[in-house]
């Protein structure tokens, strides 16, 4: 699933994850439960909260906005379409819009702090947020104390990777 070898001695490990289905769900709060039922996935109401079941994940990004991850998109799209007449919404596939980086290692917070103005350390494990890395909009998922996923818009990825390479070299010097 990954494109790079592990180097567990390194201050950080940066890996590109293989693509999975990613969808943007927009629905008014009063229809949230209908969509949650249809998708078989809780849709948390608090921004930054996440839910997961059966390999599907949801991250609340706004009062009417969720990011949904799943192994496949087709089932979700069909299930949502079935409730569209009663619970109008937008479920747009954006699987290819972003590429996801898996970031881990003892210095991962320092890596993020090089270019992310947000207090990433204060993001609780199991939550997520939309933020920026330098000039790129990214979605950050904190999966563990030192484990993150970062969704980066495809065309911004080379810039983000170049910056991360500079930060990696810097972290390796210990200064």
């Amino acid at each position: 699933m990954t494109t790079q070898k592990h180097d567990f001695a390194a201050p950080v490990q940066i890996e590109e994850l293989a693509p999975a289905a990613r969808l943007s769900l927009r629905v008014r709060p009063d229809h949230r439960a209908v969509l949650a039922d249809a998708l078989g996935l809780d849709l948390p109401a608090r921004i930054g909260d996440r839910a997961a079941s059966d390999g599907r994940e949801a991250l609340c990004l706004g009062p009417d906005e969720w990011l949904i991850l799943a192994p496949e998109a087709a089932d979700l799209i069909a299930a949502a379409a079935a409730v569209y007449p009663t619970a109008p919404h937008s479920l747009t596939e954006i699987s290819d819009r972003e590429i996801t980086l898996h970031l881990s290692g003892p210095s991962v917070l320092d890596l993020l702090a090089t270019c992310c103005p947000r207090d990433v350390g204060a993001l609780a494990v199991g939550r997520g947020c939309r933020t920026v890395f330098d000039s790129a909009t990214v979605t950050l998922w904190r999966d563990g104390p030192a484990v993150f996923r970062m969704d980066v818009w495809r065309s911004f990825l080379p810039h983000v990777r170049n910056l991360m390479a500079l930060a990696e070299a810097e972290l390796a010097t210990g200064l």
Binding site: P19, S24, R26, R28, D64, P88, H89, S90, T92, E93, I94, S95, D96, R97, E98, D110, A113, T114, C115, C116, P117, R118, D119, G121, A122, D134, S135, A136, W153, R154, S155, F156, P158, H159, N162, L163, L166, A167, A169, E170, A172, T173, G174, L175
Partner: protein, 994 residues
């Protein structure tokens, strides 16, 4: 070992000699030295020449406020830095340094002739000397000023170092690691708050490092310091040394510059030289301490004259006596301790000259015990010595009368004019200052940010009061953080309490008009200059500053501002607060450009976006151009082709057979929901209700002002779903505009917007063979019902696709959208399938030519934000029956419907030459200058299809001038051009109907 270095004394490592070079000569210093302390240890006081008069200068201070001892430092090839402060630069192996602003050498400098001619260089001399004759400005005066201006040599090579950046969030940031800051940190750390303590010095301790004899909490100062720092580290406080808080911005945002490698003998490869920290702190404690003021008297700039507190620092921190028989000149008690420490260390104090008549008896007693003569109620009126002070001229003052002088021999003169609280960061916040008449200084008053000010930074003196204040500031900060803490008693013994008075120039029996009594050392501003500025009409301190350049040197007035203000206020016969204080601006101390740039240089200077097809373009020799944030293939030259030939070939091939183009950068927005069509009707000028699913339409987007903002082809995929395309540069702007209307104007609409620009890779096929090429690759399209301006979800080359039939070239055209990961696969499949048709990849330049031949506009090139649909000839795109759309009302404004607006037309030159884009157009080339310009050329290309150049232009009343000749004056003559339709090629659109 030099006799000026006291073995075993100070915080330097006496077992670790470090050699370095100053002006070509090798010197020995110790690990822990600065260049200044090492030179002083070698008896070298002369370190530079002043800016204007080239006067010999030595170090005045021992810290970052140093105005004089600026040197060039080199850390190897490409690593030369001018204006490094010798008092800050730590010694490291092989450091090469040089003095500045001298020729041919530091000890004999031709430029010092300026010193003799000082009458020419008085305040405002720029404005007086260089005024006439006017013709001299360009050839004589400006080159002279330019060559004379600036200190040091600019580096000539690119900076090879890396610079880093980091964001940091903390509950409490404490600026200044002296006693107040440490005391704050000690109480705050116990509360569990995240605490960061920063100091610009290589080690924490501040004034404690210069005053080891003080006892705190029962321990000698340095032992207490060690214990306290250990306690802070154990409590998780982040201690950052060599880190200067350079600026204090809104909402407790503080910039820190951390110096990482300049002090290292061999920095690790890839290590950044400096790191800029952008700190967001809930609370800030400013514990920056105070800066000692020089005294203003004739000859106060001679090498060997320095601040008393700095001499004490050189002694106690670096183990260096700044002289064998220094004299002390003071109006503050603190200088006595410098004298006592030096006397105890073996220097013979020539005298303590105190301007005050009354001095605390314990101080005079302590002086007497050491055999030091104290001259109370005296002034200094001059110094002697060419490159180093030899004597000071001292006179008694009685009832404002200056008595007879005596000469006191000395090899250093330690002065203290009292202490100025360091208000810089507080002033960055626009916190207000209050004048304290008792201490003759400004103190922090009303705060605008969540900060506390502690210690000498708010005018307190003595370690006891400062420590107590630090504790209180720490407690106040954690209370503001809704945490609790306990007070901490930090009793002090052997404290060095003190007070003082304040002066303008010291009184003299000599002509004040001839005194070179310096206020700003680096810029050579004297007290006389300041008084002259006032006499010549400067009333505000801001004007005085600019007229005299007082406070405009690299020390930013740290030495000179208060003395300058006191003198200007005296000259104006006003109270200092009525004259005001100049504004402190970031950065606090000089900061490298590299630190500000951080990672944003070279490859990471700016974001460059590339499409999934970009690797193919690069491998196939594309020449790229930047378009918005993207890099796009501009043209694909074959061997031997220039741009002109390549573009002409690409255009010909497309019109002859088929061309392929990477259109992935086009903005794409998915508009979905039951109210999608209503939303589209309101946003775009066009009517959408009757557009059937499976069809597309050109959409035009206006601002409220009725001017064209964006355009693009929009496909209706179902009754509730539109696939909107925008211009490449407009994608984010259009989505923001749509969201703005949706959220603020029409929150009732059930419609949602999602950016899908990067979900899709888009490949355009255009040309008479486009359909033949594509057809065999497509599944799921009913070709009998897929005319021009259709859209279908289908598969292309086995990939899921959204297929648009549309044209931006006037040829049969398609845009194939596939999920971005498949973009390159689609492209190569189409290239492969196109081989029988001699498929030709074309770039953005050919795309521009092909669309211009058809008169299709490019928003932002043929429009400039003042072009309406009518102006652009796009009236047909307006849904006239619609009740409203963004910009509709503006289209009926009187000035919008008036005659004579600039309108988009075609232009063909009579001589067949190509016009220049941006060229101005006139109706009568023989009219007198300045001519009335009626418009300009917006697009201009050589057209291979037509065999001659074509152009588009906006011209006043252009639509009513069809066939008229206009004139385009160019440097090589006036061109004549005839106004035509913008549709140059295939005006009836036959070629679209394949």
């Amino acid at each position: 070992m030099s006799r000026y270095r006291i073995p075993g004394h100070g915080r330097v490592d006496h077992g670790a000699p470090v050699s370095f070079i100053f002006d070509g000569k090798t010197y020995q210093g110790l690990r822990g030295d600065t260049v200044a302390s090492a030179l002083l240890a070698n008896g070298v006081h002369l370190m530079g020449r002043s800016f204007k008069y080239h006067r010999p200068r030595g170090t005045v201070t021992a810290g970052s406020e140093e105005p004089n001892a600026l040197i060039g430092t080199s850390r190897g090839p490409g690593r030369f830095e001018p204006n490094t402060r010798a008092t800050v630069q730590e010694l490291r192996k092989g450091l090469v340094t040089e003095s500045q602003n001298k020729w041919p050498r530091l000890s004999f400098d031709i430029g010092a002739i300026n010193d003799r001619a000082y009458m020419l260089f008085s305040a405002g001399f720029y404005y007086k000397t260089f005024m006439w004759p006017k013709s001299f400005w360009d050839k004589v005066y400006e080159p002279f000023i330019r060559s004379a201006a600036g200190l040091g040599k600019s580096p000539t090579e690119n900076d090879p170092d890396r610079y880093a950046a980091r964001y940091l969030h903390t509950d409490l940031l404490i600026v200044g690691g002296g006693p107040a800051g440490i005391a704050s940190a000690l109480v705050a750390a116990k509360s569990g708050a995240r605490v960061v303590l920063v100091d610009e010095n290589p080690e924490m301790g501040g004034a404690l490092l210069s005053d080891p004899s003080v006892m705190i909490d029962g321990a000698p100062a340095w032992e207490w310091l060690d214990t306290s720092l250990t306690e802070l580290r154990a409590a998780g406080v982040r201690l950052m040394t060599r880190t200067t808080a350079i600026g204090y911005y809104h909402q407790n945002f503080v910039g820190l510059c951390e110096r990482l490698t300049d002090h290292l003998d061999t920095p690790p490869a890839d290590a950044p030289r400096e790191r800029m920290w952008r700190v967001r702190a809930d609370q800030v404690v400013l514990a920056q301490g105070a800066l000692e003021k020089p005294l203003v008297f004739d000859g106060n700039d001679r090498p060997g004259v320095m601040l008393a507190g700095s001499a004490q620092t050189y002694l106690n921190r670096y183990g260096v006596r700044v002289g064998d028989n220094p004299a002390v000149l003071t109006c503050h008690d603190s200088a006595y301790h410098a004298a006592f420490d030096l006397a105890d260390a073996g220097s013979r104090i020539a005298a303590i000259i105190d301007t005050r008549r009354d001095v605390r008896p314990d101080l005079t007693d302590a002086a007497a015990q050491r055999g030091i003569r104290v001259m109370q109620g005296h002034t200094a009126t001059g110094t002697k010595g060419r490159l180093r002070i030899k004597s000071v001229r001292v006179n008694p003052v009685q009832d404002d009368a200056v008595g007879k002088p005596v000469e006191i021999a000395c090899d250093a003169l330690l002065m203290s004019g009292g202490w100025t609280p360091s208000l810089h960061l507080f002033s960055h916040t626009k916190g207000s200052l209050a004048w304290d008449a008792d201490s003759n200084t400004f103190l922090p008053d009303r705060r605008t940010e969540a900060c506390q000010i502690a210690g000498a930074g708010r005018g307190l003196w003595g370690f006891g009061p400062v420590l107590e204040d630090g504790v209180n500031a720490g407690l106040a900060a954690i209370e503001a953080l809704s945490r609790s803490g306990n007070p901490r008693d930090l009793p002090v013994q052997n404290d060095r309490l003190g007070t003082g008075v304040s002066h303008t120039e010291l009184p003299t029996d000599l002509s004040a008009g001839k005194a070179k009594a310096f206020v700003d050392f680096q810029n050579d501003v004297t007290a006389k200059d300041l008084r002259l500025a006032v006499r010549e009409g400067m009333r505000s301190i801001e004007h005085v500053k600019r007229y005299t350049t007082n406070g405009m040197a690299t020390d930013q007035g740290k030495m000179s501002n208060i003395n300058g203000l006191m003198i200007a206020a005296d000259a104006l016969a006003k109270q200092p607060p009525q004259v005001g204080l100049t504004t402190f601006r970031p950065p606090y101390t000089p900061t490298s450009f590299g630190a500000f740039a951080g990672y944003l240089r070279g490859q990471t200077f700016q974001l460059t976006r590339t499409t999934p097809i970009d690797p193919w373009a690069e491998a196939n020799g594309a020449v790229f151009e930047p378009v918005a944030q993207w890099r796009r293939g501009w043209y694909f030259p074959k061997p031997g082709e220039d741009m002109h030939a390549a573009v002409a070939r690409e255009c010909r091939a497309t019109r002859a057979s088929v061309g392929i183009f990477d259109a992935s950068t086009l903005g794409k927005i998915e508009v979905a929901g039951p109210d999608a069509v209503e939303f589209m009707n309101r946003m775009y000028t066009n009517p959408w209700t009757k557009l059937a699913p499976g069809r597309c339409r050109y959409g035009l987007l206006l601002g409220e002002d009725g001017f064209i903002r964006d355009d693009g082809v929009i496909g209706r995929l179902s009754s509730d779903l539109f696939h909107v395309t925008t211009t490449t540069g407009g994608a984010a702007r259009v989505l923001n505009m749509m969201e703005d209307y949706l959220q603020t104007e029409w929150p009732d609409l059930n419609v949602w917007l999602t950016s899908t620009t990067e979900q899709w890779a888009t490949v355009a096929l255009n040309g008479p063979n486009a359909l033949a090429l594509l057809k065999p690759l497509v599944e799921g399209v009913d070709w009998d019902d897929f005319p021009h301006m259709s859209v279908a979800e289908c598969s292309v080359a086995g990939l899921p696709a959204r297929l648009f039939r549309l044209s931006f070239t006037g040829e049969v055209g398609f845009e194939v959208n596939v999920p971005a990961r498949h973009g390159l696969a689609l492209w190569t499949a189409l290239i492969e399938a196109g081989k029988p048709y001699d498929i030709c990849p074309y770039g953005t330049e050919a795309m521009h030519v092909l669309r211009a031949e058809k008169g299709y506009i490019i928003v932002g090139q043929d429009t400039d934000g003042t072009v309406t649909p009518q102006d652009a000839g796009l009236d047909w795109a307006i849904g006239k029956a619609k009740p409203d759309f963004v910009g509709k009302r503006s289209l009926s404004r009187p000035d919008i419907v008036a005659k004579g607006r600039k309108q988009l037309v075609g232009l063909l030159t009579e001589d067949g030459s190509k016009l220049e884009e941006g060229a101005q157009i006139v109706l009568d080339p023989n009219q007198p200058l300045p001519m009335k310009m009626v418009g300009h050329v917006t697009s201009s290309y050589d057209s291979a299809a037509l065999g001659h150049p074509i152009a588009m232009a906006v011209i006043e009343g252009g639509h009513d001038r069809m066939g008229e000749v206009v004139h385009i004056p160019m440097p090589d003559g006036v061109r004549r051009a005839r106004i035509t339709s913008t549709v140059f090629y295939d005006p009836t659109g036959e070629r679209l109907k394949a």
